[in-house]
């Protein structure tokens, strides 16, 4: 059980990778993205008592084109 929560180099790799891919997809600098994550977390924690809880946030960026088509980008931010 302790295996899954311990910060092994494998989980560090996975977290770095997820951060990198979100940053690539949103075209936001990794540093700015980290700041955004911190702000999202503090906003949620301000209104919701989320101590000892892990937050998974899903953001959908929807582009409406002139043909009415949508270009949807889904961004998952896990373990805030």
């Amino acid at each position: 059980m302790a295996m899954s929560t311990r910060r092994t180099s494998g989980t560090i790799a996975k977290n770095r990778l997820e951060h990198m891919l979100i940053s690539d997809k949103m075209q936001v600098d990794p540093e700015v993205l980290a700041q955004m994550k911190r702000e999202i977390r503090s906003v949620i924690r301000k209104y919701v008592n989320a101590e000892h809880t892990r937050l998974d946030v899903q953001i959908r960026l929807i582009n409406e084109t002139s043909q009415g088509e949508e270009n949807v980008k889904t961004i998952q931010i896990k373990g805030l």
Partner: protein, 263 residues
């Protein structure tokens, strides 16, 4: 009905050529008429991995430019009569061929073969665009490393944007010992991030080095990677084959160690 499959990765050195050679050998072992096309013009390697480097007379560029007929450029494998190689040119570069010419070439190959495997060069430039042009489906090869997975994600995005109908994931060079102690991303981790169907998980295996040294692909022999690659070939044909869990140590000693770690 024949299928054109591009083996690609983005990052170099993750095992595209090894995978192409071994999946092709696996398909040939199942008596499928298979041709391996090396699209890495200027940096050809597939001939060496297949051990056919001394038999090259004509190459892909010669066929495209009409210097020879397709049949003259095809090299038959040493062991499997249904397996052929179309080598890349070594003295030219990627601009020697256009995506349209590649599409025409793969159409022509479809008339003679069940499976056409295209070994894609690393990168996302013209060599990549040439290789994917004629393909019906793609196998994206990655290793469980941050850099390789990031590039694989980019490649998957490009393939999807280009309308590739089927994209499968092959995770290469997995180390069960490192995964079980948490020092390598597991098959599940990589699948979760890349979110495409898994077609195979191949363990890191020193036999691959020996196989490449000798120019004898090992798909289907008794080695761990040989078995894994043969299973990939079976899944390519649509056969349902279980993917074994490479996150656990298989040796008795490893299992004992893992047991005590958990406790």
């Amino acid at each position: 009905m024949s299928e054109v499959i591009v083996v690609t990765s983005g990052k170099g050195g993750v095992g595209k050529t090894t995978a192409t050679a071994n999946i092709g050998t696996g398909l040939a072992k199942m008596n499928k008429k298979t041709v391996l096309v090396d699209t890495d013009i200027g940096l050809r390697n597939l001939d060496v991995v297949m051990g056919l480097e001394n038999r090259i007379v004509y190459n892909l560029v010669d066929v495209v430019e009409g210097n020879c007929r397709l049949k003259q450029a095809l090299i038959r494998d040493k062991h499997y009569p249904t397996l052929y190689l179309l080598p890349a040119a070594q003295t030219r570069d990627k601009s020697a061929v256009t995506p349209e010419q590649m599409e025409k070439l793969t159409e022509e190959l479809k008339a003679h073969f069940d499976y056409i495997l295209l070994d894609c060069p690393a990168g996302i430039e013209q060599g990549f665009r040439n290789a994917v042009a004629g393909a019906d489906r793609a196998v994206v090869v990655t290793t469980p490393e941050v850099s390789a997975i990031r590039d694989a994600d980019r490649i998957i995005g490009l393939l999807e944007a280009g309308g590739m109908k089927q994209i499968d994931l092959l995770i290469n060079r997995l180390r069960p010992d490192l995964i079980s102690r948490g020092d390598m991303m597991s098959v599940e981790d990589v699948c979760e991030i890349l979110a495409i169907p898994l077609i195979g998980a191949v363990p890191d295996d020193t036999n691959i080095v020996v196989s490449t040294n000798q120019g004898e692909p090992l798909a289907g022999n008794g080695t761990p990677s040989g078995q894994a690659f043969f299973n990939v070939a079976r899944r390519v044909t649509g056969e349902a084959v279980d993917i074994p869990d490479l996150s656990r140590e298989t040796s008795f000693f490893g299992r004992v160690k893992a047991f005590f770690r958990k406790g």
